[in-house]
């Protein structure tokens, strides 16, 4: 075994604390070390060339680089080693910068530590084995979960690149929250005008198979070939026959009597409905919890919708359907739920009908909303409106420490819209801090202030009713004094919460979530659309609160990663995985229960455990637990770890 050891100065980052000459002199005499050199910047071209030429001239078979963290430059040096014809896994790094020179001041002891870390790396390197990645075939389809703006954008981008996309949405229509908005901040674009064309594109796209009123039931497999089962709930309407004419809804015996979910109960609909007039697909759906025929088995003499439909599209016999298909990649775009304002009872959301949440007010602005876009709330035009920010955001009492990012700006937008429609109405915004971080946001905030909206810093404390009017009590934290405002309408700037459907998706795909319960990206800076599960990507609010531009940008990013993956026929699977030594395995199946990825499968016939190379993520939990020591964790084998351990002691 010939090990080449390279000690990096990192300019003076390492060499100012660690005596490099001492390290080199000591390491030269360590067993298996054939070459030991130092250089100013090992990661530079000359540094890498030094390693490459030494591999050729000295016939080195293992390389140790003592420099920065392997999290920084391991890929760089693996590539260099590989260029020189050595297996890239024959490299080990000693972290003598982040974990030595940068954190210690005593030069002697830092040098001593560096020597021990390098020795430890040499010991491990001597035991390293070349590893080969396996080739996994790629199915050239994608699944997008969630049909909000993020899911729509991802699906369109992937489909436009020539790959088939299954877009699954659990509501009867795609469009998500954005379909409920009137205008978008800060440009005041009409939300419907920019969203509905995209929804239509989705419906017409030859590469997109749209599965609405459907939920992902099960996902098996791994990157390249996920097997997906989708459950489509019965609409009790034949999708082929329905033209969306709406005769059925007008005829329905319960017409105008059922609170519309889409309008948060502010408007009424029939038991057979489309959530909103621009729905895609424009197909009617029977509400199974309300329809008399379904709940009671009887609706007059005969159901009036059946009589009204010339096309004979109504079918009470319809059952749920299951769709099964394979995809190579998955985009999770499951969006968010609005924070439940009743969790802050002091604001009286449950008690006063003139206390609304931001999304509810949004429906009043919308031309397809309960009042056709007129600010006529519970029969009155509000003369004084108070917005309360940070309801359910930056609030540890309700378990949400994070900022929801959109509330400051949607409040500014709604304040503007009120001033536009009702110039004489007083509008006060009680804000915690103003966060106008995006392009054009600060300017918009300034504009809204100029329009006469009063911004007062400080949290609202309470909403109460007196003499038929609402009163909001708050503290002005700039003046340091309490004050009260009378209001006809109080709008709670409710924050964003991860959707309830996230639990199921997380366990199906084995996704990690951050402490706020939004899905966790693979790296907060450098891999913001990837997850730790290969082939699964995140778009939109599923990953954390976002406004529309950010959701769309992330959706495009996720789509580009999907396309990147689908454009290959095969992908290389990381070889740092667990391997079963079948001669030693006694078939106790201890490891099987430990694997969070269900990568273990017991071979009943031979009585041994097998590990699926594509599913294993290489945590090594099973290897640590195997009672017979028959699971070997590549690159982190027991003997390799113990060899490292003995050198540092």
């Amino acid at each position: 075994m010939k090990v080449g050891v390279y000690i990096c100065h990192c300019g003076v980052n390492i060499s100012s604390t660690v005596n490099i000459d001492n390290v080199v002199e000591t390491i030269k005499n360590v067993a298996n070390v054939a070459v030991c050199k130092d250089y100013q910047y090992m990661c530079s071209d000359p540094g890498q060339e030094m390693i490459k030429s030494d591999i050729a001239t000295h016939g080195l078979d293992r390389i140790v680089v003592a420099a920065c963290s392997p999290r920084m430059h391991e890929p760089t040096f693996r590539a260099a080693v590989s260029d020189a014809g050595l297996n890239p896994y024959c490299l080990e790094m000693a972290n003598i910068r982040e974990q030595c020179s940068w954190v210690h001041e005593d030069k002697e002891r830092a040098t001593e530590k560096a020597i021990s870390l390098v020795k430890s790396a040499v010991a491990k390197a001597s035991l390293l084995e070349p590893l080969e990645s396996t080739k996994i075939p790629v199915t050239h389809n994608a699944l997008v979960i969630g049909g909000g703006i993020a899911g729509i954008q991802s699906a369109l981008d992937i489909a436009n690149s020539g790959y088939k996309v299954y877009l699954v949405e659990r509501e009867p229509s795609i469009g998500g929250h954005m379909a409920k908005f009137d205008k978008t901040f800060p440009t005041l674009d009409c939300a419907a005008c920019i969203l509905t064309p995209k929804m239509v594109d989705v419906a017409r796209h030859p590469n997109i198979e749209l599965l609405t009123y459907s939920e992902v039931e099960r996902i098996d497999g791994s990157v390249g070939s996920f097997h997906v089962t989708v459950r489509e709930r019965p609409r009790y309407v034949d999708m082929e026959a329905c033209t969306g004419c709406g005769q059925c809804a007008s005829a329905c015996r319960l017409a105008g009597r059922i609170p519309s979910d889409f309008d948060y109960g502010l408007a009424k609909r029939s038991a057979i409905y489309v959530p909103f007039p621009q729905a895609v697909p424009l197909k009617y759906t029977i509400d199974p919890d309300r329809c008399l025929m379904i709940t009671r088995g009887k609706c007059g003499k005969s159901p009036s919708c059946v009589e009204a439909c010339d096309r004979g599209a109504i079918d009470f016999e319809q059952a749920e359907r299951f769709h099964e298909f394979d995809v190579g990649a998955v985009v999770v775009a499951t969006g968010y739920n609005e924070f439940q304002a009743k969790q802050r009872p002091e604001f009286g959301y449950d008690r006063f009908e003139n206390v609304l949440t931001g999304l509810e007010l949004e429906r009043y602005f919308s031309p397809n909303g309960p009042t056709g876009g007129k600010l006529f709330i519970n029969g009155k035009v509000p003369r004084s409106v108070v917005f309360v920010s940070c309801v359910g955001s930056r609030d540890k009492r309700v378990g949400n420490a994070y900022c929801s990012r959109v509330c400051c700006m949607y409040i500014a937008k709604q304040a503007h819209l009120i001033k536009e429609k009702l110039p004489d109405t007083d509008v006060t915004v009680m804000y915690t801090d103003m966060r106008a971080f995006g392009k054009g946001y600060e300017e918009f905030y300034e504009r809204v202030q100029k329009e006469g909206v009063h911004y007062r810093r400080g949290n609202a404390a309470e909403v109460y009713e007196e003499d038929g009017r609402l009163h909001v009590r708050a503290e002005d934290t700039l003046l340091g004094e309490p004050y009260e405002v009378e209001a006809d309408l109080v709008v709670l700037g409710a924050g964003l919460r991860p959707p309830s459907s996230a639990d199921g998706i997380a366990s199906m795909l084995h996704l990690s979530r951050s402490s706020d319960k939004f899905f966790l990206e693979a790296h907060p800076k450098l891999r913001p659309v990837d997850t730790v599960i290969d082939g699964v990507f995140l778009a939109g609010c599923a990953q954390g609160p976002k406004d529309i531009p950010d959701s769309v940008a992330q959706a495009c990013g996720a789509a580009s990663h999907v396309v990147n993956l689908l454009s290959k026929d095969y992908i290389d699977a990381e070889p740092i995985i667990a391997i079963v030594n079948e001669d030693g395995c006694v078939g106790c199946r201890t490891c099987e229960q430990l694997c969070p990825y269900e990568a273990h499968a017991f071979d009943e016939k031979r009585g041994v455990m097998t590990i699926n190379k594509a599913l294993c993520k290489g945590c090594g939990s099973c290897a640590a637990a195997c009672p017979s020591g028959s699971i070997s964790m590549n690159h982190f084998r027991n003997d390799q770890i113990v060899a490292q351990l003995l050198e540092v002691l």
Binding site: S69, P70, R71, M72, N95, R97, E98, Q99, C100, W102, V103, H104, E105, D106, R109, A110, E112, K113, S116, L117, S120, H510, S512, R513, S514, S515, L520, V532, I576, L594, P596, Y597, K617, G618, C619, G620, S621, A623, A624, A625, M633, F636, N638, I641, V642, Q644, L645, L646, V648, L649
Partner: protein
């Protein structure tokens, strides 16, 4: 051989995704701590088995530090819960062997918690300095078979 002044030998097994990254963060932020710790990187704290920890105590470690992701943040979904269970059991075993269980410390350190890592190293080193050497090594510092 001249007797050197004793200073604690600490071995750290750190998971790649959280604690190791947290230790890197301490470095990037130049947060100083005593140089007693020798870090060994593993992909997940649940890779570490009892044998490795016992081997460390047997061959001269005065303390063993295990660093993993915070509960709920594990890169491998729930590896850190397994680590917790294993370490709890092992601590009881160590007490039976006459090794103070404080010599085996498990901490959750996230990739952002450089400060926590640095403080933990300081407090662990201080604590072990007060406790003195690993009792398995009091007999002249000789080690048992490797």
């Amino acid at each position: 051989m001249e007797k050197q002044q004793w200073t604690p030998k600490i071995v750290g097994f750190l998971c790649n995704w959280c604690c190791y990254a947290g230790a890197d963060m301490a470095g990037t932020s130049r947060m100083k701590y005593p140089p007693n710790i020798r870090i060994i990187r593993v992909m997940c704290s649940s890779r570490i088995n009892a044998e490795m920890i016992l081997k460390a105590f047997q061959t001269g470690a005065d303390a063993v530090f295990i660093g993993g992701c915070h509960p709920g943040d594990c890169h491998y979904v729930d590896g850190n819960y397994r680590t917790k269970k294993r370490i709890d059991v092992l601590k009881r075993l160590l007490s039976h062997m006459g090794i103070d269980e404080r010599r085996l410390r498990l901490e959750w350190v996230s990739a952002a918690e450089g400060e926590k890592f640095s403080q933990t190293m300081q407090s662990l080193t201080d604590e072990i300095e007060q406790m003195g050497p690993n009792p398995l090594h009091l007999t002249g510092g000789e080690t048992y078979e490797r």
